[in-house]
Symmetry: C2
């Protein structure tokens, strides 16, 4: 890592964020770009982003549009410049809430539906072969998965509705700095 402390700090934060969002299922470059915009503190144009990240103009364009869709960044019209500029959405908790609502909730919901479908298939098979003990086991375990998936759905739904911070109360005591800033 080269450059002055300022540059290195931004690179380090961007790299960290890229890993976090990759872990969370997004392209790493989205995290890098968001960090760049967030820490720049002013609107940047697509080619400034390309320059700082080393990405091609095409890749930057695609990343920007993906992030606009998630409302993770925002367009900022800068007077006197024909280029479009972008700033990072700063309400990180809101971003997380939105993503949970639009992505995780959908995924868990689909899982619930598929487990229900699988269970229905087994119950149907049981009607035809009531004495098959194996089917009893499968049905029982599928019911277990289904219950779990439904509980998960309820949790995610609650998170999406109330926001991540609704989790904090359960922790009893929260580290002092959590309410700073």
């Amino acid at each position: 890592m080269t450059g002055d402390a300022h540059t290195r700090a931004i690179a380090l934060a961007a790299e960290t964020m890229s890993e976090i969002v990759a872990f969370w299922g997004f392209k790493p470059s989205l995290g890098r770009i968001w960090s760049l915009l967030y820490l720049a503190g002013r609107p940047l144009s697509a080619d400034e982003i390309a320059e700082h990240t080393g990405m091609s103009a095409g890749a930057v364009s695609m990343a920007i549009n993906e992030m606009l869709q998630w409302e993770i960044i925002v367009r900022a019209s800068l007077p006197g410049d024909r280029k479009r500029h972008y700033t990072a959405e700063t309400d990180v908790l809101g971003m997380i809430r939105r993503i949970i609502e639009q992505r995780e909730l959908r995924m868990v919901g689909r899982a619930v539906g598929r487990f229900e479908e699988a269970l229905a298939l087994v119950e149907q098979a049981r009607l035809e072969r009531p004495d098959d003990h194996e089917l009893v086991v499968v049905a029982e375990r599928l019911r277990g998965l289904l219950v779990l998936a439904r509980v998960g759905y309820g949790l995610v739904d609650g998170l999406a509705r109330r926001g991540i911070l609704s989790l904090l109360p359960i922790r009893g005591q929260l580290a002092g700095d959590a309410s700073a800033k």
Copy 2:
């Protein structure tokens, strides 16, 4: 999807689980194999797994060892058979707790450390150039990220210690079936 209802049900559940675990950052095949073992309700050998999933013996071996490490499946010695057999761990909540503890907690912890490092770099740069307003903005925002990361760490840590179900109380009312089974 072909075969009788029983077979299709298992395939559907396995596919669903493979997507869930893939989403969660594991290889899809781990989810498929776990489902297979979970729904089989009896110990299966490596080649039975290979047969049902269509994977090669090598891939099955690697998947099995990865799952044994996470304690997601368990070895079961079957008398009279030289092959090793495996069963699925059935305590799904315990599995989740373990994974959160060993993986998510580590990752969030690393993020905290890296944001601290980045902030330290910026503070150092500020000593040299106290009038650089840009550095003030960067430092302030980095502090924001750091606070968030620390709160996240606290949350994940709480989850790992108390288990996922510690989240349920916050939901006020829980769907009736959550405490079934």
